[in-house]
Symmetry: C2
Amino acid sequence: MNWDSETLSRVIRTAQGQCPADVCVRGCRLVNVFSGKIETVDFAVQDGFIVGWGDYSAEQTIDANGMYACPGFIDGHIHIESTLLSPAQFCAAVLPHGTSAVVADPHEIANVLGMEGIRFFLEATEKLPLDFYFNLPSCVPATPLETSGARLSASDLFSILPHPRILGLAEMMNFPGVLNCFPDVMDKLLLFQKANLDGHAPQLAGLGLNAYLATGISSDHECTSFAEAREKLSKGMTIMLREGSQSKDLAALMAVVDDYSWPNAMLVSDDRHPDDLLREGHMNAIVTRAMQLGMDPVRALTLATLTPARHFGLARRGAIAPGYIADFSLSPSLNPWTPVRVFKNGVEVAREGELLSDQSSWPSAHLPSSPMNVARLSVEDLATPAENGLLRVIGVREGTLLTRKLLEQPTTIDGAIVSDTKRDILKVVICNRYTAGARPAVGFVNGIGLAVGAIATTVAHDSHNLIAVGADDQSILQVLDAVRHTGGGLAIGAAQDGIEVLPLPVAGLMSDRPLAEVVERLESLKAKAKAFGSPLHNPFMALSFLALPVIPELKLTDLGLVDVSTFSFVPLFQAE
Amino acid sequence: MNWDSETLSRVIRTAQGQCPADVCVRGCRLVNVFSGKIETVDFAVQDGFIVGWGDYSAEQTIDANGMYACPGFIDGHIHIESTLLSPAQFCAAVLPHGTSAVVADPHEIANVLGMEGIRFFLEATEKLPLDFYFNLPSCVPATPLETSGARLSASDLFSILPHPRILGLAEMMNFPGVLNCFPDVMDKLLLFQKANLDGHAPQLAGLGLNAYLATGISSDHECTSFAEAREKLSKGMTIMLREGSQSKDLAALMAVVDDYSWPNAMLVSDDRHPDDLLREGHMNAIVTRAMQLGMDPVRALTLATLTPARHFGLARRGAIAPGYIADFSLSPSLNPWTPVRVFKNGVEVAREGELLSDQSSWPSAHLPSSPMNVARLSVEDLATPAENGLLRVIGVREGTLLTRKLLEQPTTIDGAIVSDTKRDILKVVICNRYTAGARPAVGFVNGIGLAVGAIATTVAHDSHNLIAVGADDQSILQVLDAVRHTGGGLAIGAAQDGIEVLPLPVAGLMSDRPLAEVVERLESLKAKAKAFGSPLHNPFMALSFLALPVIPELKLTDLGLVDVSTFSFVPLFQAE
């Protein structure tokens, strides 16, 4: 906020009713996050700020017709990349759901593009009608077991901290590094002592949790049990109750929110897949879910507005009160929260789910490059000779990111292992997309279930190399090539068939097309995968986590097969 | 906090029990301000910070013997000058009561010494075992109707804002200036938009309150009724529940603190007179008072620890939890809170009310000058010729700062008005102590009740000129002269008797002697005033508010008699 004295004086005069306000919202039931009450009031807006409640005359009158008014939602922890949308398309997608601000962790784009990716996010969000704040990704690369597009040191991150929309360091997921005092982790914690330090410490408890907190890390979004959340809260940690597309923890955690602990709790999404975003919305859906699980409606709304604003020190945000930014939505009911009219800085930006803001007038950011240093591969590049012993196979299951270590007899042709669709043991290939001339890594996976064809994606946590799995080498080569030519994205195809692609031109992670279009294309790809025999709800999602070597048990990165239990590389074959 | 990696690593290892802690407090009942519960735990301290709860080995073990442990108290709004103690003596006085941090408004010293006074406070508190934070006085001078020692512009104040212990702007008491958009007030509000903006808005409500809040002012300590506090809280204001020596508002306001509003409430003293400080203590007394009025004990303690820390963004303060500064006290009971052992940064600094910290080792600040540009006065200087009409007399009453406008026939000798002890109409004299050669202002007051002698003081809100009242001119001249020679302070004496003085060498406002000594001397002065006939509990206090032209109805400043209802000067005589 950069007022001059003329603006300040105008606001003061308007608040006293000495001149008409820009907007007056009449007859609403205001959700008061300070008193916990619903108050029937009229309120006025001037220069984008709430100036007060009372009988105001105004240039524009909004008849709320008895609807409830709630402050704009703030998602305190989200990876925008999870929506597959560019920042502008994300903004267009979430505004109609009543979101007015997000605190994002650009972890994915930073793993691809490093500082360039972070700067792109800052630039692309500069003048959008949604307030984007960022915490800087603390773990790029996430592990030494894969090749990422960048390596961000403590000083790299610190160099950009003065930016007014950067709040601090994002989820410190390297909690073993904290507990073991790794020098690069110490550097980050020390340089960010005066900034926000977000945590990520699944199941950390007791003395280990004490040590993690003693560093000044102040929040966690990885709690999955009541006991875990209760211990963390009682030790002063802010608990982000996560209800994402992937992980849904609200039901398990809700009971920790009580009359003492609520100021240190908030609702967050962490991730939001495009189909969920299209069908259910964003924070409105999470708030409604909390109410349906039995949370007091005003408290649920408070945990998506005031408490995240306070945790992150976002001034003048999180309430409808004099001096606060005029971000709010109107809903005919508390439960469900259905934001039929949405206002940002006092201007109506969406109605009945439709964006009113003229998206074509939003400034468009220069799209960053999407690294694709991958040569055209041949069948020979995928050839994998059989060896003595049993083949280590990654076991994928629906509904979990955990994989199993399987040991199988390989199916071979002329001494080379091949995809065996009957036994559902398929070849998976990962190409380092950052280093020219790198050899692809090849492994095998059970559970994807393709009977024909192949799928590929550049969304492959956390380094986002190019990964493909398929029923035969030709199909794999085809989809790899399709993604390669597209510059990043998702693809599906079969050797005897055409290729269908969802291009993700922004770093190979995000589309610059509208949400509905992305979902339509994605659904088409998923339908085709189903037609090709995959039993998974979303085989692209399963594929995108196959290369993440921090989640047990067996994963494949561009550098080879990883046994996560020992955090080390293992050969494809285990000697009998 | 400025840790290096060695310290951070040591803290992390100690928290995990890998090496002995500095201190372990065993068997205490910990007041958990996050959970609202009392938890029986052991906790460890390393490098001045709490590292966690659990079974820790340590160099030093403190057996809490089942006592309660509460975080160090934080007084979110206090004028240190009200204690008549220099910062170091204030520190020595409040530490044994469990106070570990204060947010002070150096309004009084700034009115005397301007920036020099503020810098003195910063320097004098730099290395004391108490954390002093400051908000910058927003109204120096408080009014144009008196001569102060300084005039602080918005840019003067802004120049010192970068100091790490300056939080923002202190109580914006010029609320008419806010509502009427006075340019100097606008400048201050604009320059401090990103900092803390404390309010002071007695009885402001409705649209006026809206306008005040729209500027970003976020707190108020002037509520005196439940309805007032409720409106302010519901509009997002943080309410400082004041229980000072002068104003006691807790009983009236307490009911506004509920399960929704408590994070936006805190307990403060505003002022604390030396006798109260000696006999009752500081925040411990206020917390105990809240409990005795029926507030849940954990909530009362939370409102003196966590909520002020959060309001002012004081990192790692306000709780006993991993990563928090090890400031705490131990009490055998919750109600009353009796801090028998007090720890600051993990070191025991007081026991059973006695300071353990070696006060002689504290750095002593260079005392600032105490302006005393007052010439020796003669009887002629005090001569006040009678005029036609009735004499305007200031009516003082016990227990209120409000005065009445009285109209009386003057008692004269040879055409000059004299103090009339029979009717208790005494001469009062104020000397501008900042401008050499200024003429004293003379007025008359009823209610002080001195039958003989005179009293004088340089504590005279808000400009702190030299003021005296007495039964005869000779006595007045004597006490004025005594204070003048002392360089500031309080004095009492009679022409036929000796003069007794409480020297206040720090700007004429504060003593550099210990609390007990100050109280002993003050009691002696008050006893003498009683012996001289004053019926007031503390006539020096009454005198110190006689020159404050913002409190109705009639006041005398160095520039003359002020009718506060019209905010203008009036002559001594009102024509009949």
